[in-house]
């Protein structure tokens, strides 16, 4: 059978999407980046407010761990520079989520609960494409990315890491996997809003706090059950602790390197399944309410 037959073309399109999907993604990212820049460029007060508030939030997120490491010259088996690396990684993950999944795309329960999904469904593009692009805010979302990256690089330099080129590839894979874990968790919990929009609209705020507040802490010393739970049920340990441990070579084996991406794939699959069921329910019941502020963004 010829590979350019309609059957094969359709099969390939099913697997990788329409042939111009890549171009569409780039074009949409460019659009949202421009809109984000224009939003911030409305005035210096807006820009200042954004960056100062993000800086304060970022500072608050790492202060406890930093002070503990400073006071005790490290935490458990982690030296002070290693803790700083862990902090940098955790902030970088949050920063990347802020950049790519802003405007409540990471807090999907708000969009569902406020009836904002209707705005998405009347756009002539696949839902996955909207979810991947509409929250792109490289300007307003960079308030945590820049300090996170800076902290990671500085801590790595303090550690005098001698790493092969594959280490950078592992770092990139782990960052993507950590982001996927956080988002999958948010979508699994946030999908509750399909069934109880009013009650569950803000549930992603709580789940976000749950998964990000503990992320910059080393988890050694916990019981097997507690640690197991924090790596599966509420996968806090996979946001920063586990990948930082792997990247710094703390008790690493080849098998351990594969855990984070594997769990990320499982969690994303579960999130996809629950979200799809929620969407089907939404198609049957529609949005049960619509708020005045349930408009775009």
């Amino acid at each position: 059978m010829a590979v350019d037959s309609p059957f094969w073309r359709r099969a390939c399109e099913k697997l990788v999407g329409e042939e111009d999907s890549g171009k569409r993604l780039l074009s949409l990212w460019r659009l949202y980046a421009t809109m984000d820049l224009l939003f911030l460029a409305r005035g210096p007060q807006v820009a200042l407010t954004f960056y100062v508030s993000d800086f304060v939030v970022g500072l608050a997120a790492v202060t406890a761990t930093f002070l503990l490491a400073e006071r005790f010259d490290g935490i458990g088996p982690w030296t002070k520079p290693q803790v700083l690396f862990l902090l940098g990684y955790a902030v970088l993950v949050r920063g990347l989520i802020n950049i790519f999944f802003s405007y409540n795309l990471a807090f999907i329960s708000r969009r569902i609960g406020r009836g904002q999904l209707d705005h998405v469904l009347i756009q002539p593009q696949p839902l996955w494409m909207v979810l991947l692009t509409e929250g792109f805010a490289p300007v307003t979302g960079s308030g945590m990315f820049v300090p996170g990256l800076g902290l990671l690089v500085w801590a790595a330099s303090q550690l005098n890491l001698e790493v092969p080129p594959t280490w950078y590839l592992l770092l990139a894979v782990d960052l993507v996997a950590s982001i996927a874990v956080v988002l999958a968790f948010e979508y699994i919990v946030g999908s509750l809003a399909f069934w109880a929009p009013r009650a569950a609209e803000e549930i992603n705020s709580s789940s976000w706090r749950l998964i990000t507040q503990l992320a910059p802490f080393p988890l050694e010393g916990l019981s097997t059950w507690a640690l197991g739970s924090l790596l599966t049920v509420v996968p806090v340990g996979l946001v920063a602790w586990y990948p930082a441990r792997v990247l710094l070579g703390v008790g690493t084996t080849l098998w351990e390197n594969a855990v984070l991406p594997a769990v990320a794939v499982v969690l994303v699959t579960v999130a996809f399944w629950i979200f799809s069921r929620g969407l089907r329910h939404y198609g049957r019941t529609g949005s049960t309410r619509y708020l005045d502020y349930g408009h775009r963004r």
Binding site: L28, M35, L38, F39, I122, P124, G286, H295
Partner: protein
């Protein structure tokens, strides 16, 4: 007039086809009594609301259809079904030869939707940015975008608000901008759910005139819901009246008046201040020397009423006119409300088309 460069459409002239469509919602009913707390949690009472009950409806290309009915009649549900936001529980929804839910991505690229109570504009951006956003997301070719942009800016008078943040627009300005946004890709079907809700007379007139113009020039099929009957009559030739999820009337406005009522309004000016008592006419307004009555012309003759009036007072002047469509339909809604549960929807009037 500029040349049309529409997408290829289905060969049939029918653009919307609803066939035996049912939509049922289930609502939890909770009592406010503390004693019912446990029952509310464990065995809540479920009320079944039949929003649409076997609706059959077709709309032809270039037709403007007014979709009306009392609150809860199923208007917005129909618009949502046609927007691809809801799937029917039973029956079939086809529009432009497609299933709005299954073929959502392709389908929504060919329709325009305006919900009066919400906006598609980006709140913290000028109107212009939302238009540019639409161009990219809808993948509108630049020449078509420029042409439509010029058209909507001119006809809807958007120049003065084009660079204003959406959050700073008045309701009327926002509606104009939303309507323009819905039209940039040249939709073949325009779904308008209460597009003039809360607008002042001027803004309303501007929007109505634009929709008429658009339909005349471009053969866009329009389905519009509103509670304002006079407005719907200005806009549409055909009216579909919904009652409890069923189509109670489908025809032209003149036919609706004829079938519904021969209600007339009679105004008398008399030498005496007091209003004459007329058997067969209801006094609806009076002030010294001027009195307004409503009566059913099918049952009572005007000459009889005037005879009665002349017997009681010196009549100086007489005016008579048909009741406004709003009153006619309000009478119908009131009739539905008072009707016993046995009076099933659809039994009040038969479909005329």
């Amino acid at each position: 007039m500029v040349a049309l460069d529409r997408h290829a459409t289905s060969t049939t002239d029918i653009v919307v086809d609803l066939s035996g469509v049912w939509k049922v919602y289930r609502q939890r009913v909770r009592s406010a009594r503390v004693g019912d707390l446990l029952r509310n949690l464990l065995r809540p009472e479920i009320r079944v609301v039949e929003a649409l009950r076997g609706v059959d409806l077709t709309v032809r290309r270039g037709e403007v259809v007014a979709y009306a009915g009392p609150n809860g009649a199923g208007k917005s549900t129909t618009i949502k079904l046609l927007s691809g936001l809801l799937a029917p529980d039973r029956g079939r929804v086809r529009a432009l030869g497609m299933d709005p839910v299954r073929d959502r991505v392709q389908y929504v690229g060919r329709i325009g939707v305006v919900f009066g109570q919400r906006t598609e504009l980006w709140w913290d951006h000028p109107v212009a940015a939302s238009f540019e956003w639409k161009r990219v997301v809808w993948n509108i070719p630049r020449p078509r975008y420029e042409r439509m942009l010029g058209l909507v800016r001119e006809l809807l008078g958007l120049d003065d608000i084009f660079r204003t943040l959406a959050r700073e627009l008045s309701l009327g300005q926002r509606m104009r901008a939303d309507l323009a946004l819905a039209l940039l890709h040249e939709p073949e079907i325009l779904l308008l759910d209460e597009p003039t809700l809360g607008l002042d007379v001027l803004a309303r007139r501007r929007i109505l005139s634009f929709i008429r113009e658009l339909n005349r020039e471009r053969e866009v099929s329009v389905i519009v819901t509103s509670h304002d009957m006079a407005e719907l009559e200005q806009l549409a030739g055909r009216i579909v009246l919904l009652h409890q999820g069923e189509i109670a009337f489908d025809g032209v406005f003149a036919e609706l008046r004829r079938v519904l009522s021969q209600r007339r309004v009679l105004t008398l000016e008399t030498a005496s201040e007091e209003a004459p008592l007329l058997v067969g006419a209801e006094l609806i307004r009076t002030m010294p020397g001027r009195h307004e009555y409503a009566f059913d012309a099918a049952r009572f003759k005007l000459s009889d009423l005037l005879e009665q009036a002349a017997a009681q007072a010196e009549v100086l002047d007489v005016e008579t006119h048909r009741a406004p469509i709003d009153e006619v339909v309000a009478d119908l809604y009131e009739h539905w409300l008072k009707a016993s549960p046995a009076a099933q929807p659809g039994s009040i009037m038969t479909s005329s088309t």
